[in-house]
Amino acid sequence: MRYSHGPDVLHDINLNLAPGSFHFLTGPSGAGKSSLLKLIYLAQHCSAGQMRLFGQDVDACTRNQKSLLRRRIGVVFQEFRLLEHLSVFENIALPLRAAGIKRESYEEDVVELLSWVGLGDAINENPRTLSGGEKQRVAIARAVVAKPELLIADEPTGNVDPDMAIRLMRLFVELNRLGSTVLIASHDLQLVRASGAPVLTINEGRLSPPKAPRKRARA
């Protein structure tokens, strides 16, 4: 994979995420973690090779088909990407609204999810008024609200306190138990080790084979 006409940032990637699996992705800064995640959540495309997502050849997909694939992926962005002109509720409901789902169908779920991430009172707040940790929780709630088949998170616990980090990891594990495939990029080696999930390591754009899990994913 390369950005525009620049050099390749990922080389010889051979990765298969089995449905329902839980993986961590680690590596030093600039190793290509975010680039690999962008490739998987279809923000970038392969410059060579083939990528299959949910059994479909991505390169053969039309633009609308790719949009439908994206709806099956929940993404927690490192920089949150919350829309500051929308309320917390509207930010979380954004993937559902963009998919054309009526508000009556999702309102209850969004309110419940907000309570679960501890932001029940901030439902009509503007994201600008939230702390970094609260923004991160909103970003996570938005990523999981549509019960995605694949959840990708880029440093999802980077801005929250240890208690909230454990709470959020429990949410990811719960989603994984419900069938979602989870891939989390993290620098937090303590968290990675504590989870016992297989770890993918990337260095200079090259991915090492996953290390065997030491114990079952649990947070």
Partner: protein
């Protein structure tokens, strides 16, 4: 337990107001003002040119050359001309009329009675089958009246050239302004869209179809174009109305003949609609092009 109730869903995924909209609104309003004024000038130029042509092509003048017993000969010539086919109207510009024309230069009462003044007969020709210059000349000669017939051919050619120049010039100005409107509106819309790339990216990655994202911007920029177009057209209407008032107050010779009639109003009504359409189209094309460039 009290349940937190979310506020109603906003109609658009875009901010209700944004900093970028203000300058864009004014740029579009000014461009539309200029385009409307230019369109109305173009229309005035066409109307004036057509009127000049009709006036010149449909008229001839006859100057009676006989100085002796001139008044009687003028009367006789007028009677003869009225009887000729292809002539709809005959008007005598007599000595009093000629004096009145000279008075602004020579002053009232300063024109001596024995000053030889030309007596002119104005002819209004039948537009369907106008009488020819030679036929009129022949009829006057046959009636023993020495006269010179002028079909204004020299003036007519010059006037036609001037009218054609005015038409081409105003059309070229209008074309340039419309092109500039399209380019500026497109450029300003792109600049404004660039500031909302975050919305485009977030919706795109959330799985929104391209057309859904484009619709958000289409509606927004269509409405902005309509508002700015209405402002520009209203200002143009006021400016033209003021020019019309000035023209009727005696400054008409110095100002173009503006007419805020039904076609004029049509231009003012059409301009905001076209601006809205252009804004929406530009936004749609820009968003779709940005989305394609992203991958």
């Amino acid at each position: 337990m009290t349940r937190n109730v979310p506020e109603p869903t906003p109609p658009s995924m875009l901010p209700l107001r944004s900093r970028e909209d203000g300058p864009l609104f004014f740029v579009i309003a000014i461009i539309i003002f200029l385009a409307c004024v230019s369109a109305l000038i173009t229309r005035a130029a066409f109307v004036s040119a057509a009127s000049w042509r009709a006036d010149l092509n449909g008229a001839m003048t006859v100057q009676i050359k006989d100085a002796k017993d001139q008044d009687r000969k003028v009367e006789r010539a007028a009677k003869l001309l009225r009887s000729l086919p292809g002539i709809e109207g005959v008007m005598i510009y007599d000595r009093a009329h000629a004096k009145a024309l000279l008075e602004p230069w020579l002053g009232k009462g300063n024109i001596p009675d024995d000053l030889p003044l030309p007596i002119i007969i104005g002819l209004q020709l039948d537009p369907k089958s106008p009488a020819s210059k030679s036929a009129i000349q022949l009829a006057l000669s046959a009636g023993d009246i020495r006269a010179e017939v002028d079909d204004h051919r020299r003036w007519s050619a010059e006037m036609n050239n001037a009218a054609r120049f005015l038409q081409i010039f105003s059309l070229a100005s209008l074309s340039l302004l419309v092109s500039a409107s399209v380019a500026v509106t497109g450029f300003a819309t792109r600049a404004s869209l660039a500031a909302r790339r975050d919305v485009v990216n977030t919706l795109h990655l959330a799985g929104a179809f391209d057309r859904y994202i484009a619709e958000q911007f289409e509606r927004r920029f269509g409405a902005l174009g309509l508002r700015a177009g209405l402002m520009g057209a209203a200002l143009a209407g006021l400016a033209v109305g003021a020019a019309q008032l000035l023209s009727s107050g005696g400054a008409g010779l110095l100002l173009p003949v503006f007419r805020l009639d039904i076609p004029g109003f049509g231009i003012l009504v059409l301009a905001p609609v076209l601006t809205a359409f252009l804004g929406a189209l530009t936004a749609r094309m820009t968003v779709l092009s940005n989305l394609r460039e992203q991958e």
